[in-house]
Amino acid sequence: MWRRPLPWLILLAALGCALIPYWTDDVQLREGLLLAAVYVILASNLNLMIGYAGYINFGNIIFFGLGGYISVYLVSEWHWPLPAAAILAGVAVSAVALLFGLGILRLRGAFFALATIGINEAVRQLVTNFEPWGGASGIYLAFDAYEPLGGPMQALWIVYFLVIAVTALSLLLSFAIKNSKFGLGLIAIGQNENAAATLGVPTPLYKALVYSASAVLPAIGGGLYFFKSGIIEPGGAFNLGTSIEAIVMVMLGGPGTVIGPALGAALYEELRGALLTSDIFSHFQLVIAGALLLLIVLFIPGGLMGFIHRRVAWTRRWLE
């Protein structure tokens, strides 16, 4: 894997994103990059499902939200250190996803998509009524939760670096899967599931595994993000709208490619920022997202990377 250029490019970009705001002490740049990085984590891991296995998961945000809840709860109530809490959240959420996956991935196409919306709403309702996690009002982190990381100011930087690390890991995971036997099996499933099974791809197992794999890093990212926010509540943690936005990012950048979803996430974040601050569009952000999705699916089904790959052949080798 390290003989190819892309993993090095990913590490280099991550290093740049981590160091530039730190050296220039530019807090505004850091906040912008952090939000973009969170989107990249969501989009890149969702791409494992959509781009490789060909399954659209409308409930992808629950990984992020559940990871956030578990982490914040462990930090707030049990005083766990943040990294341990986030990692446990990743493991726990991916284990739950594996169980769910073995069940719902028997469904195909539109039925699977519907089931994931159902799961999204079910989890939100469950958490809304779960008193240990604060029910509808959620969990607030006390100010002293940031003390172990050297106070709030320093904690923000540490969380930022960790988020960038998780972002880099997301892209490396995507690259590693794409260039593995597991990835080939997934892509075969995405192309034609019946043919893949006839060729010997263990389809139920692979689908459950990728569903579970796509949960780990978003859950860890959710832990970091909501720790930084200092508050987590069901509406913000399990927002179906964000799930749909993540799908738009994947489709925009190029499903099935490694850097496409990252590109799509960064672009979408820019667009969203511009829309939110504009007088006319600030209330129509999801409408624009929907229209964008429609246009992409109709006119550039391969997304930006698909478009670039078709036009400029050498990019296929360098920018997978």
Binding site: K181, L184, I187, A196, A197, V201
Partner: protein, 250 residues
């Protein structure tokens, strides 16, 4: 000789229609067994039962001593039973090489990725796809897609190959090439169960032939025995007397 595949008294109904009725057949090691019959006789259903797309309602299917009745297709493929479909099912967005690599990766030998790719490259060249190896499978011609079905199945290095009308839609010279390829496969000791409508081809390829009609076995025997069987001629041609065609096919 020992049997690679034993189908024992298998039946399958779809709603009120008995697609396959109490069918038993054996494929011996290294043998080419032809499966023929009029349209709707249940030939493709038999293939679907063998490779696990459907589970039979009754009966048993044994592959190299392992009971595979009702097992899912991917498990059966792993045991070394590969299939080329009548209606081609390329992984359209993947290259020819990647299509074959999937076959090699997840087939009998469970090869790691790089070895699988090497094996796939070899097989693709063997069936005449060597120059189109990087082409997306969806862009192949009909003949090319048929070859790809075969190449993908072969890449798994199977013990038994199910060939479902691999000659349909090919022109005469392509048919000749394909027949040579199939003969080459058998020479390597792979048993073949083949469904075919091109009579001249199946008569010359098969060691034995099983004739299906309305889901059950009508006759079996050597190609010449089957061709001379009055029941077979009736089923195919709807007339009671031997005709020129029957003589022609042998």
């Amino acid at each position: 000789m020992s049997a690679v595949l034993e189908v024992e008294a298998v039946s399958k109904r779809f709603g009120g229609v008995a697609a396959v009725r109490d069918l038993s057949l054996r494929v011996e090691e290294g043998e080419i067994l032809g499966l023929i019959g009029p349209n709707g006789a249940g030939k493709s259903t038999v293939f679907n039962l063998i490779n696990g797309v459907y589970a039979p309602d009754r009966g048993r299917i044994v592959f190299r001593g392992t009971d595979i009745t009702g097992a899912p297709p991917y498990r059966i493929a792993r045991l070394g039973l590969a299939r080329a479909h009548q209606i081609v099912q390329p992984l359209a967005g993947l290259s020819v090489l990647d299509n074959c690599t999937v076959g090699a990766c997840f087939g009998r030998e469970d090869l790691p990725l790089e070895e699988a790719r090497a094996a796939a490259r070899e097989v693709a060249a063997e069936v005449g796809l060597g120059t189109q190896i990087d082409m997306p499978a969806g862009q192949l011609t009909t003949a090319g897609k048929k070859r790809l079905e075969l190449a993908r199945a072969l890449s798994a290095r199977p013990h038994l190959l199910l060939l479902d009308e691999v000659l349909a839609g090919l022109n005469p010279s392509e048919v000749e090439q394909m027949i040579d390829i199939v003969r080459g496969i058998r020479k390597r000791g792979v048993a073949i169960l083949i469904i075919e409508h091109v009579m001249r081809a199946i008569m010359s390829l098969s060691d034995r032939i099983v004739v299906l009609n309305l889901g059950s076995m009508l006759a079996q025997g050597s190609p010449s025995e089957v061709a001379a069987d009055p029941q077979v001629i009736t089923a195919y041609l709807g007339v009671a007397e031997p005709t020129q065609d029957a003589g022609h096919v042998s």
